[in-house]
């Protein structure tokens, strides 16, 4: 599949080679001899025709969008309703009786001795390195698996791939034991390290798939020019992979942002290190009945991931384009 939209400057001949290499799905053997010279308007016209333009299809999409978002909207309205009403009437009665209270948010944000802003800082401090480090390491490893020939490569890769299924719970005690003996337990360092480790198998697997889709010709051409692996990695592959990296980054971001278990185990609940989720998890209260607080809390913790998703959405689209994800 093509890299063209990501790298508009790439000479067409390279792109074409890439396509030729990747063609294959039965029934779609089409020579890519045509150059793309369509204007935007023409392109749109083409797009419109390629869609499944039946009214049934549109209806299905709309129904699905509604089904998927209704639960979340329920949470949104609930977060503005008083406790008693949440427990006795449905959130949809909100429209007949639109009372609005910010008490739930007030309680979540300021109702505890633990400073909410402080936890927010912790979450950010935990998240950034826990996204950067595993992606970097996974990129390098994925490159080795995809483009360096060495003995046992396939088996090693299968091994890494299989590691995805290891439940992180089994690693908690062995890791914590080591961290304690190093004197690092309860610091940011071990939280970053742990998140990095747990992210690696999936990151290597997905990024490897992206890398495999980069046309061999590109790499070979660089090799002929005498470039070493490091140079190829940084100068040829990385630019092509930027969007792919951004897309995996958002998923890793989400997982770390919403993580409770790793933080709880390695950082402890100490307000100096604990992330937002530790506080959110407590919001339902000792008796698990404080839904009103939980709905507000869940909504607050959701805001940043959604903003990040919206901001990076163009990377998603174009990101996976780079590789088109190939099994």
């Amino acid at each position: 599949m093509s890299n063209a939209p990501v790298t508009p400057d790439t000479p067409d001949d390279l792109v074409d080679k890439g396509r030729n290499l990747d063609e294959g799905p039965a029934g779609t053997q089409v020579k890519s001899t045509k150059q793309r010279k369509l204007t935007r308007a023409e392109q749109r016209a083409v797009d419109a025709k390629t869609r499944l333009a039946s009214p049934w299809a549109s209806a299905f999409a709309i129904v699905m969008a509604i089904l998927w978002s209704i639960p979340t909207f329920g949470l949104f309205f609930s977060s503005f309703r008083p406790e008693r009403e949440i427990k006795t009437t449905g959130w949809w009665t909100y429209f007949q009786n639109p009372g609005l209270t910010l008490d739930n948010y007030d309680e979540v944000l300021f109702g505890s001795s633990t400073n909410f802003a402080n936890l927010f800082v912790n979450t950010v401090v935990i998240t950034l390195p826990a996204v950067i480090i595993p992606i970097t390491l996974a990129l390098l490893a994925a490159y080795a698996f995809a483009w360096i020939d060495f003995k046992g490569r396939s088996w090693l890769f299968v091994g890494v791939f299989a590691m995805q299924v290891i439940p992180i719970q089994i690693a908690l005690i062995p890791l914590l034991t080591q961290y304690v003996s190093w004197g690092l337990a309860g610091s940011f360092w071990v939280v970053w390290l742990s998140h990095s480790i747990f992210a690696l198998p999936l990151a290597i697997f997905l990024l490897h798939n992206f890398m495999m889709d980069i046309p061999r010709s590109l790499i070979e051409a660089a090799r002929v020019d005498g470039a070493g692996h490091v140079k190829i990695f940084f100068q040829v592959l990385l630019p092509l992979l930027v969007p792919a990296i951004a897309s995996f980054a958002i998923f890793q971001f989400l997982w770390v942002w919403n993580d409770l278990l790793v933080a709880l185990t390695f950082a402890g609940g100490s307000p100096n290190v604990a992330p937002l989720t530790v506080r959110i998890a407590e919001l339902s209260g000792s008796r698990g009945a404080d839904w009103h607080l939980l709905s507000a809390g869940a909504f607050i913790s959701m805001i940043v991931p959604v903003v990040v998703f919206l901001g990076l959405q163009r990377f998603f689209v174009r990101g996976l384009l780079a590789g088109g994800v190939k099994g």
Binding site: L172, I173, E282, L283, A289
Partner: protein, 461 residues
């Protein structure tokens, strides 16, 4: 107090040791022998530090506390440490977590235990004492002396494993209560029942006279679903079979599915599994399994049900605008026994277990067993908290339910029994027992079947 002198010497001794062996812990006692009479005078607050002199100067030290008690009940705990912190100079770091039971075992195994853990199940204390004999610390001398002096000896037994004393009592709660609406009872002309038979008669009367059902119940509690039903069975065990059989059952000296247990469960089933009696405002019998225990009493407020059996701590679950009083919106009566003279009381509570022998940790554990702490805690908590400390000042308990609990704890006639599921091994007490009771209700399985299921899951050792 005779214990004070010894403990002071003991503290000074351990403090001296601490500077040598535990220097790496960041802060340790500076070796002050703790006899400094002027220590309290410097503190500029209304806290009277006289009672804290015995702990010595713990300036710069810190104690970590790990508990299952989370927001909003955590703040009263944190506040209750203030006098200790101000008078001794030590800092107490509180950490509460919903995942306490699992995380505590992870931390113990990894060699990263907290200084003090609040453990609500004596069964877990036993598990830890057997699994980590080198990590768990016996209760300090002074704390033990406090327990001997201020608590019924039964509370000491719960914290004792094979002759070693590990768990000092903290809070307590009385479980044998039935919540009701005094005004509804008055309007209908119902009397508070004083025997189990009267209770059943009242139930029958309500069922026939009223449109709403007599009882409501809920046993859903997330991953702990089922525990409120185990309390029902335990209460009935105490009433139908008496405390001796209850103890045999708890200690597995009789099988879990002994006919006497079946009888007790059937007694609970007469209410819980009778569609004419439950589940007022919440659905049919099976809805008990999916109703959150915290919400189970709310139909009383709307007149949809009349009674709900739940512990004293349930008063914190009523919405804020509800008055808990004998002449208020809701109140609770003692779940009566077969005769009015019998007074078995099912109780629960937390115990402090120490994993460090640093002097500040021992001092803190001792503080938690003192009447002073119970008084402070009662003030910071408000309604819904009580201690089994006989020498606390009941005037600090503002809620009548807490006062009632306190009186029951202190009453010589009361036969206290700790929640059996908390005493049993965790895979039963926090596992098969819960799920058996849930199946008993949700899948309408017979009493014999669910009990024998638990029996077969009892660990063979």
């Amino acid at each position: 107090m005779p214990s004070r002198k010894t403990s002071r010497r003991f503290l000074a001794l351990t403090a001296g040791m601490a500077t040598i062996t535990l220097a790496a812990c960041g802060g340790s006692d500076d070796g002050d022998d703790g006899g400094d009479a002027g220590a309290g005078a410097d503190v500029t607050s209304n806290v009277d530090c006289a009672a804290f002199e015995e702990y010595g100067d713990l300036e710069g030290t810190s104690v970590s506390v790990y508990t299952s008690i989370i927001s909003p009940e955590d703040q009263p705990h944190i506040d209750s440490y203030v006098p200790f912190e101000e008078c001794t100079g030590a800092t107490v770091n509180y950490e509460g977590s919903r995942e306490f039971e699992a995380q505590l075992q992870v931390r113990l195994q990894a060699g990263n235990p907290p200084d003090i853990a609040y453990i609500p199940q004596p069964g877990l204390i036993r598990t830890i004492a057997e699994g980590y004999p080198d990590v768990i610390q016996p209760v300090g001398e002074q704390a033990e002396a406090n327990v001997d002096e201020h608590f019924d000896e039964q509370w000491k037994e719960y914290g004792t494993v094979d002759g070693s004393y590990y768990g000092a009592p903290l809070g307590a709660n009385a479980k044998s209560f039935v919540w009701y609406s005094p005004s509804m009872f008055e309007e209908a002309g119902y009397e508070i029942p004083t025997t189990l038979d009267e209770l059943m008669e009242l139930t029958e009367t309500i069922a026939s006279e009223q449109e709403s059902l007599p009882w409501c119940a809920g046993i859903e509690s997330g991953s702990a679903t089922g525990w409120p039903a185990t309390d029902w069975l335990e209460d009935m065990m105490l009433r139908v079979n008496g405390p001796e059989v209850y103890d045999q059952w708890t200690n597995h000296e009789i099988p879990f599915d002994d006919p006497q247990v079946v009888e007790a469960l059937d007694a609970a089933g007469e209410i819980l599994k009778n569609p004419d009696y439950v589940n007022g405002g919440l659905g049919d019998v099976r809805s008990i399994a999916t109703t959150g225990f915290g919400d189970a009493g709310l139909p009383i407020l709307d007149g949809n049900c009349w009674m709900m059996r739940q512990a004293s701590f349930y008063q914190a679950n009523w919405p804020e605008d509800v008055t808990v009083a004998e002449d208020g919106d809701v109140f609770a009566f003692y779940l009566p026994s077969t005769s009015a003279d019998d007074q078995p009381l099912l109780v629960g509570g937390e115990f402090t277990v120490s994993f460090s022998d640093r002097p500040e940790v021992e001092a803190f554990q001792a503080y938690l067993t003192s009447p002073e702490w119970s008084d402070v805690k009662a003030q910071t908590s408000g309604p819904g908290w009580v201690s089994a400390n006989r020498d606390m000042d009941p005037a600090n308990l503002e809620s009548p339910i807490d006062q009632l609990s306190y009186e029951l704890f202190a009453d010589e006639n009361t036969v206290l029994r700790f929640d059996a599921s908390d005493l049993m091994p965790a895979e039963v007490g926090a596992g098969t027992f819960w799920s058996a009771m849930t199946d008993w209700i949700a899948l309408d399985e017979s009493s014999e079947d669910v009990l024998s299921g638990v029996e077969s899951s009892w660990p063979s050792e």
